[in-house]
């Protein structure tokens, strides 16, 4: 590098460039698009969890005035290269049959699966017509419990599949049996963990416009993966990829829910093409509850072996994972759960047997945290059990087992799904724990608790660690271009869905190029501008897109300095860029605006062009990432439990986060706080329920409870910054590490509060009813035991 890079905004709390439009109600979400002549779609969905489709009569629906088309699987089949959606993971992991069809062909596998698409002049007419479609079903037995689904002779969730097992695999290393044979103590527990959904406040939605004149299909979708959507649509509709453009408008939250190419997106695009028209479908919330992906149940049976000092020897067990009707992201969630279990601890031996089971419920793909919260919960609860068994303090047993900073980078014996070693790159876990304990007043808690108990109040404290792999590759695109007016445009295949990505990328470009943040425009998730991209998932974007934008901006800077050096007759090393002007450092007036250089690099037809530089004041980079950057967190919380109502109030919440260098601490605070409150929903509130026939019982926000302002506690945020050595910014993703330890910490605190009753919790969420049931079973019957716990 030549010349100084002005780091004016990196690391500072820059207000977001996204905010003004959103605050004025001038955001453009997909439902806000009003294209002339738009037709509106509604879906007829399966009312059964499992049923054969015997026949569909659409005549009545088609007869309704205003109806443009009523399409079944049979109608879509000739429009698509394959009615089934393609796999988006390496071949061989799972067969193509784990993917859903764009519309149900002959067997519906969950309530809510789309069977017919109706297109009409308005949504109201489309819904009226959908009610007139007559589908004849033969109901089949529904599989809803993943454990029972593994029994010999269990009904099959899909009649054409061999059984209900999508896949069985092991994550194992070390001498597990020997470790258990020689253990000083073994603690064992069964866990039932329900995770819940992403539940973005904006539902899914898609607008597809086909224009036969130009042969172009333009799709606006509230998606987290625009490039994959374009690829899929082009392939399934037999269109050249460059005739398909996917644009993501403002996205009203994703949290994993929108990281999928959905059947509805393919059906809507196919309808738009067939009708040569613009077709819009906006999911309503009821549809969301039965057709947008979820995470649900995992059943763990796990034991932990320890030596006499409380040091970990081994963990082994089984995990049965409810995958739902399809496996569109292969086995990612249970794989992450199993590989994240060791977390921040040095674990010598491990053997987890994982069964990924098909049920007649909504398909599962990762929700914010992506399987890590469950692995974390199991490990942290076992740590609490082990502390109790060995008579050790909960913090002390953790401290003894934490990976030490001098062991970093720390290679675990496990591998990521890409086959790379799982190796923690940096971090100081013991220091994070010490900071958190200090902040929550851990040492004085015993006295506070005793005083509260004497006053008839039940308070408890819980702690938990988390480690999260972030910045998943293989790469992300970053194109930086100085426009002829001097504004800077940044284009990326990464996806903005509320995290402040645009501001973070603008800061990186602005600082590198010496322009104010306000002069940078970021266009994320428009396939018309960058040809490659992977979108928003796995806390990856600041790491991957941020690095690409940094590298591209540096290349642009080099170019600008090379040209300016000629114009100003000064060495590039003597130049600085300030406020959009390339200046000879210390010589006021010797300057040339970036805008002029951008203009020169556009070239003039037939005239001379600056020497030694390529065309355009722009550069594109695809920084490559083979390894993950591991963020970590330590959380501590204090709760009060009302033993009359089972209600839990979180009194204080302390979160220590290390996500490497923070580009914008304001945004990181937001990511962590939002993640924690999501986790509180998982710990206490959020549960998708269904009956034995697979009929969902939670299809409104009155049944499926999200945290409200009342449920969110005061949260204290603390940070350590261990820069990642794996990227030039030193950053790690912050989007998920906040959610991961919450359930473990809260449930631990509840159990601590109810220790006098001998209450034990190995599940989540803990509703007031579950707490009261537990108190009735254990506590009230036997009476308080004065803080003395039973053995698990």
């Amino acid at each position: 590098m030549t010349a100084t890079v002005m780091t004016a905004t990196l690391g500072t709390r820059v207000p977001r460039i996204e905010d003004p439009a959103l605050l004025r109600g001038a955001g453009r979400f997909v439902d806000d698009l009003r294209l002339p002549g738009t037709l509106h779609a509604a879906f007829v969905r399966s009312p059964y969890a499992h049923a054969r489709v015997l026949g569909i009569d659409t005549a009545d629906a088609r007869a309704l005035p205003g109806v443009a088309a009523v399409l079944t699987a049979a109608d879509l089949t000739p429009l698509l290269t394959d009615l089934r959606l393609p796999i988006a993971f390496p071949e061989g992991q799972l067969p193509p049959e784990v993917m859903p069809f764009a519309l149900v062909r002959d067997e519906a596998l969950h309530v809510g699966e789309p069977v017919v698409i109706v297109v009409a002049s308005s949504r109201r007419v489309a819904e009226d017509a959908a009610e007139r479609v007559v589908v004849e079903y033969e109901p089949l037995p529904a599989v809803t419990d993943p454990r029972a689904a593994l029994d010999a002779g269990a009904e099959r969730a899909c009649s054409t599949a061999d059984g209900n097992l999508f896949k069985r695999f092991r994550v194992a290393f070390g001498e597990v049996d020997a470790a258990f044979a020689g253990a000083h103590a073994v603690v064992a527990e069964r866990f039932r963990l329900h995770r819940g959904g992403g539940s973005p406040m904006e539902t899914r939605g898609v607008v597809a416009r086909h224009c036969s004149e130009s042969g172009e299909l333009t799709v606006w979708s509230s998606t987290q993966m625009p490039h994959e959507l374009r690829h899929t649509l082009a392939e399934r509709l037999s269109l050249p990829e460059d005739r398909v453009r996917v644009v993501t408008p403002d996205v009203g939250g994703g949290f994993g829910t929108k990281y999928l190419v959905y059947p509805e997106e393919v059906a809507v695009a196919a309808a738009a093409r067939a009708l040569d028209a613009t077709v819009k479908w906006i999911e309503d919330r009821q549809e969301h509850f039965v057709s947008a992906i979820q995470e649900r149940d995992q059943h763990w049976s796990v034991e932990m072996a320890l030596d006499g000092d409380g040091r970990l020897l081994a963990v082994r067990g089984t995990l049965v994972h409810d995958q739902g009707a399809y496996a569109p992201h292969s086995v990612n969630v249970p794989f992450n759960s199993a590989t994240s279990l060791p977390g921040p601890y040095a674990l010598p031996a491990y053997d987890m047997d994982v069964a990924v089971v098909r049920t007649n419920l909504v398909p599962v793909i990762p929700v914010r945290g992506a399987g890590y919260p469950q692995g974390c919960f199991v490990m942290e609860r076992l740590m609490d059990r082990a502390a109790e068994r060995l008579g050790l303090d909960r913090a002390e047993i953790r401290r003894r087992n934490l990976i030490r900073p001098d062991q970093m980078p720390y290679p675990t014996p496990m591998r990521t799904r890409a086959g790379a070693p799982i190796a923690y790159d940096s971090g100081d876990y013991p220091a994070c724990q010490a900071m958190g304990l200090e902040a929550i007043g851990y040492d004085g808690f015993g006295a506070r608790q005793a005083a509260a108990r004497a006053a008839g109040r039940h308070i408890g404290l819980g702690i938990a660690h988390a480690v999260k792999g972030t910045g998943r590759g293989p790469f992300e695109s970053g194109l930086v271009r100085v426009m002829p007016d001097g504004r800077v445009s940044v284009y990326t295949g990464a996806l903005a869905m509320g995290q402040g990505l645009k501001t973070a990328l603008a800061q990186i470009a602005a600082d590198t190029l010496g322009v104010p943040v306000e002069r940078v425009d970021v266009i994320a998730g428009d396939t018309g501008f960058v040809s490659l991209g992977h979108g928003g998932y796995a806390s990856r974007q600041t790491v991957t897109a941020g690095s690409s934008v940094l590298m591209a901006a540096r290349a642009v800077r080099e170019k600008a300095l090379a040209v300016a050096s000629g114009l100003l007759e000064a060495a590039a090393a003597d130049l600085v860029i300030r406020d959009g002007m390339v200046e000879v450092d210390g010589v006021p007036g010797m300057a040339v605006p970036l805008a002029r250089i951008a203009g020169m690099l556009r070239g003039l037809p037939g005239y001379a062009f600056p020497d030694g530089v390529s065309a355009g004041l722009e550069a594109v980079e695809h920084a490559r990432f083979d390894q993950l950057a591991y963020a970590n967190a330590f959380h501590a919380c204090e709760v009060e439990v009302d033993v009359e109502t089972g209600g839990v109030r979180i009194l204080r919440y302390v979160a220590v986060t290390d996500c490497g260098r923070r580009i914008n601490p304001l945004i990181v605070d937001g990511q962590v706080t939002g993640g924690i409150v999501h986790g509180i929903g998982n710990a206490l509130l959020e549960e998708f329920r269904h009956d034995e026939q697979g009929q969902p019982l939670t299809t409104t926000f009155a049944d499926y409870l999200l945290p409200t302002a009342h449920d969110a506690p005061p949260i204290e945020l603390l940070y350590r910054e261990s820069p990642s050595p794996l990227n030039p910014l030193g950053v790690k993703g912050a989007g998920e590490v906040g959610v991961i330890p919450v359930t473990a910490a809260v449930v631990s605190a509840v159990e601590d509060a109810l220790a006098p009753f001998g209450a034990r919790f190995a599940e989540a969420p803990l509703s007031p009813v579950r707490i009261l049931e537990t108190l009735l079973q254990t506590g009230l019957r036997t009476g308080p035991r004065n803080g003395e716990g039973g053995t698990p």
């Binding site: 004025r24 955001g27 806000d32 992403g198 403002d250």
Partner: protein, 163 residues
């Protein structure tokens, strides 16, 4: 089922409007689709999320639960009417300072809920703010920055109102 369209009049953000809607059309849909005021968002259409909150004659209502025809003759205020020309409203400014919005989908409804609160209670306690907000779901922010922004905006507005 559908019923004949009817003409209704109301003021929206101080402007007199007349539109013709089917009786089954919600106020939210009428604002968004007929008047092009897409700042009001629809997150659930069943009265829980609060994204669709607007003020009708000064009272915060869920515009997904109100038929447009019921708003006949009323004064409706939406998020589009909040800013003071090119300057943001102090509440909007406070939201930006405190990072009280992420995706921004819930934000218009949250803002209108807080406008109602701050008019009725210019110096609310934190508990009062949380109470007022309890009918607005936000998946992104964790609420803490929204509460902080509301309290901060109250101070700014009080200073403005001071003689």
């Amino acid at each position: 089922m559908t019923g004949d369209p009817r003409a209704i009049s109301m003021t929206v953000n101080g402007r007199e409007v007349t539109l013709t809607v089917e009786p089954r059309v919600s106020l939210a849909d009428a604002l968004r689709q007929d008047l092009g005021l897409t700042g009001t968002h629809v997150g659930c259409e069943h009265g829980v999320c609060g994204s669709c909150t607007v003020l009708v004659d000064g009272t915060a209502v869920r515009s997904c639960l109100l038929f447009a025809v019921q708003a006949e003759g009323t004064a409706v205020e939406t998020v589009e009417g909040l800013a003071r020309g090119s300057a943001l409203h102090p509440l909007q400014e406070a939201f930006r300072r405190h990072h009280a919005l992420q995706c921004g989908f819930c934000t218009p409804g949250v803002l209108m809920t807080l406008v109602e609160l701050l008019r009725a209670d210019p110096c609310p306690t934190e508990a009062a703010v949380r109470d007022a907000l309890s009918g607005n779901l936000c998946r992104c922010t964790g609420y803490q920055p929204i509460v902080a922004a509301a309290l901060d905006a109250a101070t700014v507005l009080a200073a403005e109102a001071a003689p």
